[in-house]
């Protein structure tokens, strides 16, 4: 796999923008590209960045009020009438509250309803645990027919939005509230179901998704200063999972770390563990939220507290590697 060329500037100097703003721009572009694209919101139009679409295409914007069950089921009806409905709310409410409606009227009904979950992860910040959606990856990736995408930055979010507008499938797009580094470039490839190879290394594989990919890449740079060369994969698409990319890297390093701003149970960590344990049993460490809820705090402060910033990730990985038996022991012992 060709290595993707990305911006590796430090957190302090790199340009930052919210992933949700990339969605807003992508939806506007998708709206220009097809008049079948319509947008529905449950009373969170600006914070989900749907206002750009609303202002450009007021005739294709539908305000449904604080009613997330109605949000996705009205969308299912619109999809049946031939439209491509994007629905937005905070992920805590959609898919948090309306999962059954999503299962029955979008996934099983196989309608191309797009569920856009804003404000995932603990970077939601001061609002606290009720509004920090950590279970969405697990909830959505178990649904047959559903595509699950967690872009790493605003540029990728824009691309992902335009791609799911035309994929003819029920799809979940995972966004985040806080500004995050914009490290991919306009010409960085993006394809649903394909991993992005960000760094080559033989010592350990680090697989990351969403907001954690930049942190994982920065952690890999810290590790390389300590002589640990990480193979870094970005999985924007969690379903369908790029199993080939994961298996190829795991075959090389025999050690896999996953990093996500979500519950590791059923999340990216769960997904990667399923693939590896079936095809290439490999020792793993899953970094993310470990069976607990979030709490109030500053976004960056919380990431630090939960060990999800680059220095913490680097420390966790090197400590884990040190504690493992040497590669000779694990492979030949």
């Amino acid at each position: 796999m060709r290595l993707a060329d990305v911006d590796t500037s430090d957190f302090a100097t790199i340009r930052q923008e919210t992933i949700r703003s990339g969605f807003g721009k992508g939806l506007l572009a998708a709206g220009r590209e097809s008049d079948r694209v319509v947008a529905l919101c449950a009373d969170l139009t600006e914070s989900t960045q749907m206002h750009l679409f609303r202002d450009a295409f007021p005739d294709r914007f539908i305000q449904v009020g604080v009613a997330e069950q109605n949000l996705v089921t009205v969308a299912a009806g619109l999809a049946h009438a031939g439209f491509i409905p994007f629905t937005t709310s905070y992920a805590a409410f959609s898919p948090g509250r309306n999962w059954e409606q999503i299962k029955t009227t979008a996934a099983l009904n196989d309608q191309p309803v797009k569920i856009v979950g804003a404000h995932t992860g603990i970077n939601v910040g001061p609002d606290g645990a009720t509004h920090q959606m950590l279970e969405d990856i697990a909830l959505m990736r178990v649904l047959p027919n559903m595509v699950v995408v967690a872009p790493a930055d605003s540029i990728e979010a824009e691309k992902a939005t335009r791609k799911i507008a035309v994929n003819d499938a029920p799809s979940y797009l995972r966004l985040a509230r806080d500004k995050t580094p914009v490290f991919t470039r306009p010409d960085t490839p993006f394809e649903i179901g394909k991993a992005l190879h960000l760094q080559r290394g033989n010592d350990v594989t680090i697989v990351a998704t969403g907001t954690m990919t930049y942190e994982a890449l920065a952690a890999a740079r810290i590790l390389s200063e300590r002589g640990i060369n990480a193979d870094v994969l970005h999985l924007a698409t969690i379903k369908p999972l790029d199993e080939d990319a994961i298996l190829a890297s795991a075959a090389l390093t025999r050690r896999v770390v996953t990093v996500e701003e979500a519950q590791i149970a059923g999340g990216l960590g769960g997904a990667v563990a399923e693939v590896l344990s079936e095809h290439l049993p490999t020792i793993m460490m899953r970094i993310g939220i470990r069976d607990r809820f979030g709490e109030s705090g500053g976004p960056r402060e919380l990431l630090d507290h939960f060990g999800l910033t680059a220095p913490h990730i680097a420390r966790s990985v090197s400590a884990w590697l040190e504690a493992l038996p040497s590669s000779g022991d694990t492979q030949r012992g």
Binding site: V64, Q69, L78, H80, A81, T104, T105, N109, D110
Partner: protein, 292 residues
């Protein structure tokens, strides 16, 4: 050679008169009994009670073409209370969407007639339903598209819900939505049979004054005898005549209608007839046919 852009008028199914509708409804009831007996599981009371509504829809009200289920000028019917699907399967088969013989495959492994309707499994199904409360929203979404997006004022969307079903909050979210957007092409029925699984609707969760409730949500409300196909046809016509406001037809029905030992008995909500009971039901239904 000039190509005409005007679509050829279609030969749509004939709209039946009231006597024919009653005859067809009885035939559909017999098929429901046959299907449930063969399946050995499923719901009896609701489908029997709704047979007149579904007959009126498929044999008089809906503009539809069984030879072209996805005809883009069709009226659309969303069955919201998916557990009553045997009555829909029977109406679709009688209409010619698929062979009547296939009805006996209900609920079997590999059947297109799933225990609850799955849109992609069978021609004529407009949605997947079963979990209650989501049909009105989907119908509203479709009606929204026809009013504001495709601008097809001549098409209508119909849905049927159970009365127990409106315990679900999703229904009332849809009620507000359809009213806000003045979805006059949306015509909904509540199968008001007063029973649900755990008992009468009054015991389980009293519904109160449904006329006043739906009116206060901004709906055009009609109340009819839902076991009179002629009344169903007339109410649908009244609903179509009111623009800018969705119509709710409270259809009072007898659960288990047509099979006297099932009528008004909530134990038949989720139970199929055994062989003896099915035979008795067929005798009663054929007698009612003879009496007319």
């Amino acid at each position: 050679m000039a190509v005409s852009m005007i679509a050829e008028p279609r030969a749509l199914p004939r709209r039946r008169d009231n006597d024919e509708l009653t005859e067809i409804a009885t035939r559909i009831r017999v098929r429901i009994v046959d299907m449930l007996e063969a399946a050995g599981s499923g719901h009896s009371a609701g489908p029997l009670g709704m047979a007149d509504i579904l007959t009126a829809l498929y044999f008089s009200i809906l503009r539809h073409d069984p030879t072209d289920p996805e005809w883009d000028e069709r009226d659309v019917f969303f069955l919201s209370n998916g557990h009553t699907v045997p009555v829909l399967y029977a109406a679709l088969a009688e209409s010619g969407y698929f062979p009547v013989d296939e009805l006996s495959s209900l609920r079997r492994l590999g059947s297109r007639l799933q225990g609850h309707p799955e849109r992609k499994a069978l021609p004529g199904l407009e949605s997947t339903s079963g979990p209650l409360g989501s049909g009105l929203s989907q119908a509203a979404g479709y009606a929204y598209a026809m009013r504001y997006l495709t601008r097809q004022p001549h098409r209508f969307v119909y849905t049927v819900m159970g009365d127990g079903e409106i315990n679900e909050g999703n229904v009332w979210e849809a009620a507000m939505f359809a009213s806000k957007y003045r979805l006059g092409q949306l015509i909904a029925f509540i199968d008001r049979n007063n029973i649900q699984i755990d008992g009468t609707t009054d015991e389980v969760m009293p519904l109160g004054d449904l006329v006043a409730k739906w009116q206060s949500f901004g709906w055009h409300v009609l109340e009819i005898d839902g076991n009179d196909p002629g009344a169903v046809v007339k109410a649908a016509a009244l609903g179509r005549a009111v623009s800018g406001q969705p119509t709710m037809i409270l259809a009072n029905t007898v659960p288990g209608k047509g099979v006297d030992f099932m009528e008004y008995d909530h134990r038949w909500h989720g139970m199929p007839p055994n062989a003896d009971q099915a035979e008795a039901a067929r005798r009663i239904l054929s007698r009612s046919r003879g009496e007319r």
